[in-house]
């Protein structure tokens, strides 16, 4: 009886998660494409040394982060992938989405501050699902991006 319920649950949850998950992922990717196309005003680099320091008015740390999870279908795909090995596309797309979102939030934070450049950008990653102790391939990850936003005195953009 229990196995039957589990099987029915899988039959309902997997396709539901597949369609809703794919829909939300595509919407998120479209949103990211749109925001990224507008983010050309801010130069982002992981260089430490600041170009033309004489024209800098001030700087401040900016942060962008996101906690993102795989859907049930992808968790299932991850479990299956563990059996046969190879490239884990489901987890890969989650990481890329998370990094893009974190970087966009960092850029938006820098824009609010009135910055033209962000230096020394670093990414930090942590797996929250381990903290939750959840089993079975579900991934919840936190991605943090941080850097130093720079405001120029005459608002001229120096190449980094």
């Amino acid at each position: 009886m229990d196995t039957l319920i589990a099987l029915i649950w899988q039959l309902i949850a997997l396709p539901t998660a597949f369609f809703i998950g794919r829909f939300t992922e595509r919407r998120h990717l479209r949103d990211l494409d749109e925001r990224e196309s507008r983010s050309g005003d801010i130069i982002v680099t992981n260089l430490k040394t600041i170009a033309d320091p004489a024209s800098v008015e001030g700087g401040r740390m900016v942060i962008g982060h996101v906690v993102i999870a795989t859907d049930y279908w992808k968790s299932f795909a991850t479990r299956m992938r563990n059996l046969v090995g190879g490239e884990m596309k489901s987890a890969q797309s989650l990481m890329i989405r998370g990094r893009r979102e974190a970087l966009m939030r960092l850029i938006e934070n820098a824009r609010e501050y009135g910055a033209t450049e962000v230096y020394n950008v670093r990414y930090q990653f942590s797996n929250i699902s381990m903290m939750r102790g959840s089993k079975g391939g579900a991934m919840q990850v936190e991605i943090l991006a941080y850097g130093t936003a720079i405001v120029r005195r005459s608002q001229q953009i120096a190449s980094p």
Partner: protein, 104 residues
Amino acid sequence: MIIVNTETIPGREVSHILGLVQGNTIRAKHLGRDIAAGFKNLVGGELKGYTELLTEARREAVQRMMAQAEQLGADAIVNVRFTTSAVAQGAAELYAYGTAVKLV
């Protein structure tokens, strides 16, 4: 207090280094948020509750770091780094550290 993660402060000059300062906090998850996150595991996407929780926790860690720097009489903290680690099941440690400096 100026906080940057570069080694120098743009537009300012460091007169001397005061030493390493740090701040940390360990946060446990909240049951209500955990249930909401459980639903999210079905459809995927951003877990807003956790994002907020970690934003708040990281701010706390930075504030503790700043308090330590203020005690040393610092004007700024340079080369700030963040780390996150799962110290126990259901709890995360957020740690911020940097170098407190005195400006010219």
